[in-house]
Amino acid sequence: MAVRLDDKRLVKQLLGGDERAFDRFFDENFARLYRFALVRLADDPDAAREIAQITLSKAVRKLHTYKGESALFTWLCSICRNETSDWLAKQGRYREHIVLVEDFADVRGAVESLGTPEQMSPDRHYRRVELLRLIQVALDNLPPKYGDVLEWKYIEGHSIKEISERMRIGPEATQSLLARARRAFAEVYTSLTQGLERHESELVKS
């Protein structure tokens, strides 16, 4: 819930014309929306960039309609999803429409409801490519700071000291942030993999 309060505050600041709020809004969301669109557009970087920009453009014009009922990024993703569909339709690429595990309603709901973390149970036999992609999806669905700090620490291999300097916080605060980020990641990732398992087994049955 704290995330949404923060999102609501950010939107309020944006509506009030706060330039720093705009910087934060753009910096936290543009690259994430780009990646959100990228996988849905068969890895077309130009189209993904265009869709991300159109999404944010539409969002700033309807910011006053955001009520904090979902996370701001989720709200942006819903706009982005529609824009992606429209773009594919205009390109005559209906058949290329890509359905992703994170697009299933129940998985979206689980990812959206970031609550108390449960035990992580990743399916170790999962296809490697999909598993790696879901890690990126999970990182993008975390609060931006969490996603960044996990990527810097475990994927890019930066030290706590380097991350502290980059975040402009102390080493202890960085450790604490990492711990919270790990718990949040575990929950989102678990939701994604469980959702995928469930839908794959339904496909096998049918």
Binding site: G17, Y34, Q53, L132, R182, A186
Partner: protein
């Protein structure tokens, strides 16, 4: 989270590739474009909120007026916002039933009044907090408060220095349906019609807080705001035909007991000209003390005053040269 789970998680994350990111140049371009759109969007919202505020205020005022008409008791303290210094041609005051009443006997304007100038008319007002407001013919001005005037249509000129002997900072903002025009010590002209707002600046600078765009206009520039189009800014002359009506509406200067130099500074500002002295002319102008006032426009007054001081003058390319 147990140590094993912690280690599993770290191993899992270490297998991943960094997330793809768009090129920095693309990000910068997208951010700049979005920032413009965001500013437009929030500007519109603030405008809508302000208009809603006006609507609420208007409703409240209408209610107060209804109570007033029933009780015949004064409800709101009216504020004197300006004094009429000069007028010619048909000038009207908008009545309570939207009828036009002659403003011939009017000497002071209070908040809430609307003044309408007819064909061939002109009006000069001394603004209460300092400065001179001029209205051209076919202009409709609503005096909303002692700081704001709503220009419904026509042309208005504002000079923050003229008639501002006390060195006050004139509090004057011109509101229009296309945006608000605020000054920073200046002489400027604003023209409004249904489609556009045109602001021409002689001296200093003004800021336009438009419905769709913000624009700063500096001396010698003219900005035109028309709907969503980007403001069109041109270089203009600070004197000439476009400013003739401003000269016609200029009230006569009270120069009794002042130096000829002070009079020349006033006249050159009114005419939109730079002042330049040649030979001994500046010394003569400082020493000559004027007696009495002449009830004419700046150009005629200039000719008469310089003739009596035995000084010559000529105007060349926006400069008035005073010669001995």
């Amino acid at each position: 989270m147990s140590n094993t789970e912690h280690a599993d998680l770290e191993n899992l994350l270490r297998q991943a590739e960094p997330r793809p990111v768009p090129a920095p140049a693309d990000v910068a371009a997208a951010k700049a474009a979005l920032c413009d759109e965001w500013r437009d969007a929030t500007g519109q919202r603030q405008r809508r909120r302000r208009l809603a505020g006006f609507a609420i205020a208007a409703t409240v005022l209408a209610g107060l007026f209804a109570v007033y008409t029933v009780t015949r008791a004064p409800i709101v303290d009216l504020v004197e916002v300006a004094m009429i210094e000069k007028s010619y041609g048909p000038v009207y005051l908008l009545g309570e039933q939207a009828e036009l009443r002659s403003a011939d006997d009017l000497s002071r304007i209070v908040s809430g009044q609307t003044i309408v100038t007819g064909a061939g008319a002109g009006l000069a007002l001394a603004w209460a907090s300092g400065g001179s407001v001029r209205a051209d013919e076919n202009t409709r001005l609503r005096f909303t408060s002692d700081t704001d005037v709503f220009l419904e249509s026509g042309r208005v000129y504002f000079d923050s220095v003229a008639g501002n002997d006390g060195g006050n900072v004139s509090r004057f903002t011109l509101l229009t349906e296309h945006g608000d025009v605020s000054h920073a010590g200046t002489q400027y002209m604003t023209a409004v019609d249904r489609d556009r707002l045109v602001v021409s600046v002689r001296e200093g600078s003004v800021t336009i807080d438009g419905v769709y765009h913000e624009q700063t206009v500096r001396a010698g520039q003219q900005a035109t705001l028309a709907g969503r189009q980007r403001p069109d800014v041109l270089r203009i002359s600070r004197s000439g035909e476009a400013w003739d009506w401003v000269v016609r509406t200029a009230p006569s200067a009270d120069v009794d007991g002042k130096t000829l130099h002070e009079f020349l500074v006033w006249a050159s500002r009114e005419l939109g000209l730079e002042l330049h002295f040649e030979g001994e002319a500046e010394r003569v102008a400082h020493e000559a003390i004027l007696r009495g006032n002449i009830d004419t426009g700046p150009e005629d007054a200039l000719r008469l005053r310089l003739a009596s001081a035995a000084l010559g003058w000529r105007i060349e390319e926006g400069v008035i040269y005073i010669t001995d």
